[in-house]
């Protein structure tokens, strides 16, 4: 068990699906050889296929204390990179349309804004995903090389690139499919929670660049941190697929607002815009209690009262949203 644990909370009510976090991460960490298909941070439309597609349905994680490895996702599940034949159009003077090749069949953010139907209404929301830096990482357990370790000082899960031999048991074991294999180096890679930034007191790049200001970062065990308050005090943030047994340290404020059209004033749980079954699928049965708590906060604010929870979730400035404690981690860690 780590002495401290960095955690992130993402308020899905605020996510615009703009992918700025995705690009911030990509430019910083995965703009190298072999990393083209890697998205340590991706934003997917839910309901939807996800990236790699169907990652939530193929397995991974723990059951009765045993690892439940899935098959390895294939490049078809990630989607092959395609190029456009600009050459013939722009330089050879051929009037053929500029078509992508190979024919795109899947890819990151492939089914953006498709969503699902709730009765006759279309609905969707966005779920940004990074490595969950789990308390009980299935990837760590699966690695016969002991190349994966959880940093004792801050709970960040990283892959030692010197020890990794590219066996990919970690990818099979991760229920969130947040480890990627680099065939050029022959090693696996994953989100490092921007630990080099945190060590300098800077927040993660995905959080720093987020125009929606939906990310909160801090130590889960620091009573002053926003993540501690949102997860442990107010209890309004939940991990994704808690039944996978890894105990993620990335949490989500579930989407609950706005209400359905012509439904103003009614309880969101009574006639939800988003099918509650789908939210239960993603966040477990406790999501209904969380929405009840959020709805009560909303009602209090609407009645002219003050809601500390909503003030925190608005997150007006960086001091509210982030509490990075490099000194605490270094001195006490």
């Amino acid at each position: 068990m780590s002495k401290h644990q960095y955690a992130m909370v993402m308020d899905l009510n605020k996510c615009l699906g703009c992918q700025t976090c995705t690009i911030a991460c990509k430019k910083l960490w995965t703009d190298r050889d072999g990393t083209g298909y890697m998205y340590w941070n991706n934003v997917e439309t839910r309901p939807g296929l996800g990236y790699p597609r169907q990652w939530d349905r193929i397995g991974g994680g723990w059951k009765d204390g045993l690892l439940q490895p899935s098959p390895l996702p294939t490049m078809e599940d990630y989607g092959y990179a395609w190029e456009y034949d600009y050459e013939q159009r722009l330089f050879e003077g051929k009037r053929k349309p500029v078509m992508p090749s190979p024919e795109p069949k899947s890819g990151v953010n492939w089914d953006e804004d498709v969503g699902g139907m709730n009765g006759e209404e279309n609905y969707f929301f966005y779920v940004p995903r990074i490595c969950n830096h789990c308390t009980y990482p299935a990837c760590l357990e699966a690695c016969p090389r002991k190349a994966i370790y959880k940093r004792e000082e801050d709970g960040i899960v990283v892959i030692d690139q010197d020890r990794c031999q590219g066996y990919r048991y970690c990818i099979k074991a991760c229920p969130y499919k947040k480890i990627y294999f680099n065939e050029v180096t022959g090693k696996s890679e994953k989100c490092i929670f921007c630990y080099p930034r945190l060590e300098k007191g800077e927040v993660n790049a995905c959080a720093a660049q987020c125009p929606g200001r939906l990310r909160f970062v801090g130590l889960l065990d620091d009573p002053e941190s926003p993540v501690h308050k949102l997860v442990l005090v107010h209890k309004i943030a939940l991990p994704l697929f808690p039944e996978k047994g890894t105990q993620p340290n990335v949490f989500y404020v579930p989407p609950f607002n706005p209400p359905k059209r012509d439904n103003y004033g009614k309880s969101i749980l009574e006639d939800a815009r988003l099918p509650l079954d789908y939210l239960v699928y993603l966040f477990g049965p406790d999501v209904k209690n969380v929405i009840t708590r959020l709805e009560a906060e909303l009602k209090r604010a609407q009645a002219g009262g003050r809601s500390e929870v909503l003030q925190l979730l608005i997150g007006r400035d960086a001091e509210t949203r982030y509490r990075i404690r490099p000194q605490l981690v270094q001195i006490q860690g």
Binding site: L67, P73, A81, Y167, Y169, E183, V184
Partner: protein, 243 residues
């Protein structure tokens, strides 16, 4: 001497049978491997055709399959039951040639990575596939061969008996590794001369090793990429002894 060797091999056999939950009866037993004194120079044995090896006797070494790593893994079929081993000494080197039948050729040529830093290039080298594994083979022997000593653990040696592993991968080439027990294998960053060819469903891989004294235990391993072999998921022989 012969009795001692048999006893050592026997105890090694029981050790791995116990550790891996297999019955000793299913394990191919260790044997003595004769080493030819070759008149060909090492380069000829490494890179020459079959002519250089024609006079060298072949020994069929039985291979075993490691059990599944996960309870949920399907047990793998014994598709490669035997590896043919030829050994020759010349010019202070020990040349080891392994031949085995494998109808699936799991090897690729990795795309060339430009020498310029990736951040200076618009295009990066892509990962073409994330789920393929490659054929491979290895020769393992004790780092400090001692006549009559206990053989190291077959699972990559042990703390008292470190091992050298000459590993060849059909895609990534030859690399020297060292280990002191299961999970401790590390790349030394060094390579060694090796040559491989694949014809008619048959791999032939020649390793150039430093000369090893008579009585040295050696063990062999083969990985079949199409069976998703890597790590301990492989074919292995029990310890054999150099004549």
């Amino acid at each position: 001497m012969r009795t001692r060797q048999l006893m050592i091999l026997g105890s090694g056999l029981l050790a791995c049978a116990g550790m891996w939950g297999q019955t000793a009866a299913t394990m191919a037993a260790g044997q003595t491997l004769s080493v030819a004194a070759s008149s060909f120079p090492a380069d000829n044995l490494l890179n020459g055709g079959p002519a250089a090896w024609n006079q060298v006797a072949v020994k069929h070494v039985g291979l075993n399959r490691t059990p599944p790593l996960y309870d949920t893994d399907e047990p793998a079929a014994l598709e490669i039951p035997v590896v043919d081993v030829r050994l020759a000494r010349t010019g202070g080197k020990l040349l080891v040639q392994l031949n085995w039948h494998d109808p699936t050729h799991d090897a690729i040529t990795l795309p060339e990575v430009p020498k310029t830093p990736p951040e200076t290039r618009f295009l990066k080298v892509p990962t073409e596939a994330d789920d393929r594994f490659f054929d491979a083979a290895a020769v393992m022997f004790p780092t400090k061969p001692e006549a009559g000593a206990m053989t190291p653990s077959l699972q990559m040696g042990d703390a008292e008996h470190p091992v050298e592993i000459y590993y060849w991968n059909a895609t990534r080439g030859a690399m020297l590794m060292q280990a002191q027990g299961r999970g401790t294998t590390r790349r030394t960053g060094q390579s060694f001369p090796a040559n491989a060819s694949y014809q008619n469903g048959q791999w032939s891989v020649t390793f150039e090793l430093p000369d090893l004294p008579p009585g040295t235990p050696v063990a062999f391993a083969v990985w079949n990429g199409s069976q998703k072999d890597r790590d301990g998921r492989k074919y292995f022989s029990v310890w054999q002894v150099l004549e």
